[in-house]
Symmetry: C2
Subunit: 603 residues, 2 copies
């Protein structure tokens, strides 16, 4: 027997030599992230080896890890086979006790789903006691039936062919009934509708386990890339609102049926869908006009939670299924941000915590010892690979990492393919490295080729700099296709940085908090988690002083929806937090424009 | 100036010579029934002239009135032009004070519709007070909004383009909102879904006035003439239930749009539809399986009242409109009969009152000083002109009256056309006259031609009797087509009579009421009102001793739906009465078969 020691956990694990490190960790309840299932293809199960005897790095590890990572003893745990005692440090791992999810951080909470089932025995009508099925069901259930539900009535004849029935409740409220004992089959779906991506997780409401999750590009993209262009589409196209609503409903139905078929679950056993989304996405989902969101004073039609019959908006689940739309605050602080605030427990902390969701819009919530304030800033789509000359989504062939060192420029490409473009995390790391290498000055202007050639420390980079028609760019690849970062690209990232950083400072200023008194900076978002600390700090989006205080929580919008699916109490919290968050309109803050201009500069 | 005196009313009316009697009556608030609008074509505005100077009977009056009627000074008031003082007796007239309806009896009740409107002033959002429309509406209305209603949300953007809004309430519950002050536009529709006919009345909920009514043959007829054959259709045809539901929903939508276009009323200003129907029709309306109604123990899926969003079953009215389904008792005592019982105030009487709705099924409710018992009997479709050799519906060319006197057989044909068949009231009067003329004996068997020829008192009728292949029939017309009443037709009417009369006696027996202690017999039904007292008594459906106690109330199912539309209190009554009515299954009563056989005989 050999021993595995895990730093910071004070834990010693016994293991037999021969298995992979990932398996040893998982067998002991330590869930390292491994989306590819330990096949060595995703490069996610990174771990730091402190000491011990293991195999040499494999070919796959060389592919997936930067030179610096390999030099720093970072390895992929699925490809490490310990040959004796070993000490490691966890990097991206997750603790079973702390989490129940395969993806995204969640705080601990008691599982107490709103939707629940109870099994009852039926009495059938006779000539002597000739009651209606409805009355006999009430007698069996000992409750008064919700009287407006003809869907329920339609299901009764089949029910009364059985001796047992399973009643379905939303909290204490009876919502439907099924023949026989179906208490084991109780599922829900948690959804995050992002402007760009829609994610849906199938959850077993009995065990509280997330069974699996699926995502799709938001099909509304066809009608407009961002929120404002979609609002515009509903205004200018006759049946625009209907088109947008139908496309998101279709998307949710597709995701649901995919989840069902992949996991062999009957769609009729899904009783609730909880949905987090920004205000515009939520309005479009319910077919509600979005004009007021797009023009001053930017009001919503609704912001509070909504409980609907799923079928009423065309969502296909159980006949009785409900949709719960999480509550939002305002046009620009939607249910996605309220969800993130609850997942981050912003309302429960006695510290100063700043929460940032980085997307096309950057939303910031600042907790001053539990007191919540928020603002929204137009970050622009640069960090999603949009408005960038060689920009693309994070798909195969996208450059997702760029490092500059004495050997020149080194790339990390998704899928280890020939690079075809740069995605958001790539552009941010690229700019961050360009700043670090001093290829630009404070204003973001690329240095002249002649200046670089004359500079001993920059000389080695001069071959990458191209000057054409007085325009400069950094060519980072020219294999099958020239890929470069242009002066314009740098400006786009500066605009993003300026928007987020100025929002950040403005909110600290409004709440009279000194930056040094911030205890934590939480980075949320499916997308945000791909932006490394080095990139965020290097590009100046997050001030360097906060480097050690950054924490990633992944798609907290979806995590919040999932918590609402699993806990009545969280749902109540969600509503309380939505009411608590104060919204500040940055454009009305004195001196904001000046602050924004200042924040455009690199340090 | 001349004077019109009305017998039994102690009323003297001053009038100018030259106008018709109908106009004079109507000008003075006495609503004589005149469906044709005083054109002399419907023959409904009968009146008895006691004394005075008037014009001679017109050609139209000779067409529309029996010889006996003309001899008894019965005239059509729309064709009578008084030339001086006149005394008349009202026959089919209706009193304004007592009724608000153009058709069907209703007791007095206070108008207090469930649906009501209130006008409110709105505050709009500003950058400073940037509340959602939903919250601002709540503030204006001083209520919490029903939170599951996305239809409401969809309407808010348009609402907030105005300063004023009109909120719509069902009782105290807010159900919707409209831009501007629409308080004057408040309509509802009362519906009776009969197995054969569907009637819809448009009602102004502000004034309580019935504006107009439309009817259509129930389109479900295509799939089965009676309740049982429709139940069978849903069982044997894959999408049978859906077909039947869709056809009745389409019918209601057609009637609604016809009512709207004829009266220039916007469909969006109709906020409620109240519906009375038998249990099977109600189940089909809501798309609920009817199998249990068709087989022992004949239970319903539901019997109680139902309140639905109209759109949820495809009924097109205002976005916010509700459907109220009146409560029923059991499979065979439906909401139509509960409605009739309330309209007849059976629960409020301290007398013994028998209520009969004559249709394909005969339903009987007996009030013993307010205690209510009921039974149902399979009357069969004979009185609707079905299963009769020359039977037809009450349409143009149908014989609706048959008189036998010394001149032979005299007919009354709808539309004064060549006769093409016999409708229900015609066949009943025919049989009644055949019995009176002693062409049949107690058992209903037609006398031999030889016996008639030998009988001095019957001789004059022998030319009508035809004997063919040992079968006998009475030929009542041979103009363009031979029309006769066969021995089989007489048997069909006997079965109807036997079923109703035995139900009648059985219920009296169960409640231990002597027939002579009955204070009133109420004949309900669109169809029942066409059956004259003479016919009912003459055919033996109603015992002769009750001749003076018969009262007609017309389509009390529709009247009940209308009262529910206009009065919250009546609606509550409806539910109380539904719970009060006890149902007796005749087939389980000892000695019922014997009673039935006895009741087949003519007296």
């Amino acid at each position: 027997m050999s021993y595995l020691k895990i730093i910071s956990k004070d834990k010693k694990i016994e293991f037999k030599v021969g298995d992979t490190l990932l398996n040893i960790l998982q067998d002991n309840g330590i869930l390292a992230e491994s989306p590819c299932g330990g096949n060595g293809t995703c490069g996610k199960c990174k771990i730091k080896i402190i000491e011990g005897s293991i195999n040499e790095p494999t070919e796959e590890e060389v592919k997936h890890l930067y030179k610096e990572e390999l030099e720093g003893d970072i390895r992929l745990s699925c490809l490490v086979i310990p040959t004796g005692d070993l000490t490691v440090e966890l990097l991206n791992t997750k603790d079973v006790k702390h989490k129940i999810l395969a993806e995204g951080y969640m705080p601990e909470f008691d599982i107490n789903p709103v939707i629940n089932k109870r099994v009852h025995k039926l009495t059938k009508p006779t000539l002597e006691k000739n009651f209606s099925y409805e009355e006999l069901l009430e007698e069996a259930l000992e409750i008064a039936i919700y009287e407006d539900d003809h869907m329920l009535l339609r299901s009764l004849p089949e029910i009364f062919e059985n001796q047992e029935v399973t009643a379905i409740y939303a909290g204490e409220k009876f919502i439907g009934v099924e023949a026989g004992d179906t208490s084991c089959e109780l599922y829900g779906i948690a959804v995050d509708i992002g402007t760009t991506t829609v994610v849906a997780s199938l959850v077993d409401l009995n065990s509280g386990k997330e069974i699996s999750s699926e995502s799709e590009i938001n099909p509304q993209k066809e009608y407009g890339l961002d929120v404002l262009s979609r609002i515009d589409f509903t205004r200018t196209k006759a049946n625009g609102l209907e088109l947008l609503q139908n496309s998101i409903i279709d998307c949710l139905n597709n995701l649901t049926s995919e989840l069902c078929s992949k996991n062999s679950i009957n769609i009729n056993n899904i009783y609730e869908m909880t949905i987090a989304a920004n205000a515009t996405m939520m309005h479009l989902l319910l077919g509600v006009n979005t004009n007021s969101i797009g023009k001053s004073p930017y009001s919503t039609v609704f912001s509070r939670q909504k409980k609907l019959l799923a079928s009423s908006i065309g969502i296909k689940l159980s006949l009785f299924a409900r949709v719960y739309c999480l509550p939002g605050v305002s046009s620009y602080i939607g249910a996605d941000i309220v969800a993130g605030s609850v997942v981050s427990e912003l309302d429960k902390t006695d510290k100063n915590v700043l929460f940032i969701d980085i997307g096309t819009n950057g939303e910031i919530v600042l907790s001053k010892g539990g007191e919540l304030s928020s603002c929204s800033c137009a970050a622009g789509p640069a960090l999603e690979g949009m408005n960038i000359s060689c920009g693309m989504r994070a798909a195969e062939g996208a450059i997702e990492g760029i490092k500059i060192n004495e050997d020149g420029i080194r790339l990390k490409v998704i899928g280890n393919k020939e690079p075809v473009g740069i995605c958001g995390s790539g552009i941010l790391e690229g700019i961050s490295e360009i700043v670090r290498a001093k290829l630009v000055g404070k204003t973001g202007r690329l240095k002249k080729k002649s200046d670089i050639e004359e500079n001993d420390q920059l000389q080695y980079l001069s071959k990458y700099l191209i000057e054409e028609d007085r325009k400069r760019k950094i060519c980072i690849s020219s294999e099958t296709k020239e890929i470069s970062i242009t002066q314009g690209d740098i400006r786009q990232v500066q605009l993003t940085k300026g928007a987020i950083l100025s929002g950040f400072y403005a909110l600290l200023d409004l709440l009279e908090i000194d930056m040094m008194d911030l205890n934590e900076v939480i980075i949320a978002g499916q997308f945000g988690k791909h932006l490394s600390v080095d990139s965020l700090v290097g590009s100046g989006i997050i001030p360097a002083d906060l480097r050690g205080k950054i924490r990633y929580i992944g798609n907290s919008s979806k995590s919040g929806a999932l918590m609402c699916l699993l806990s009545k109490e969280v749902r109540e919290d969600m509503e309380k937090v939505a009411k608590k968050i104060q919204y500040f309109e940055l454009s009305t803050k004195e001196g904001y424009d000046k602050l924004f201009t200042k924040c455009l500069n690199f340090n």
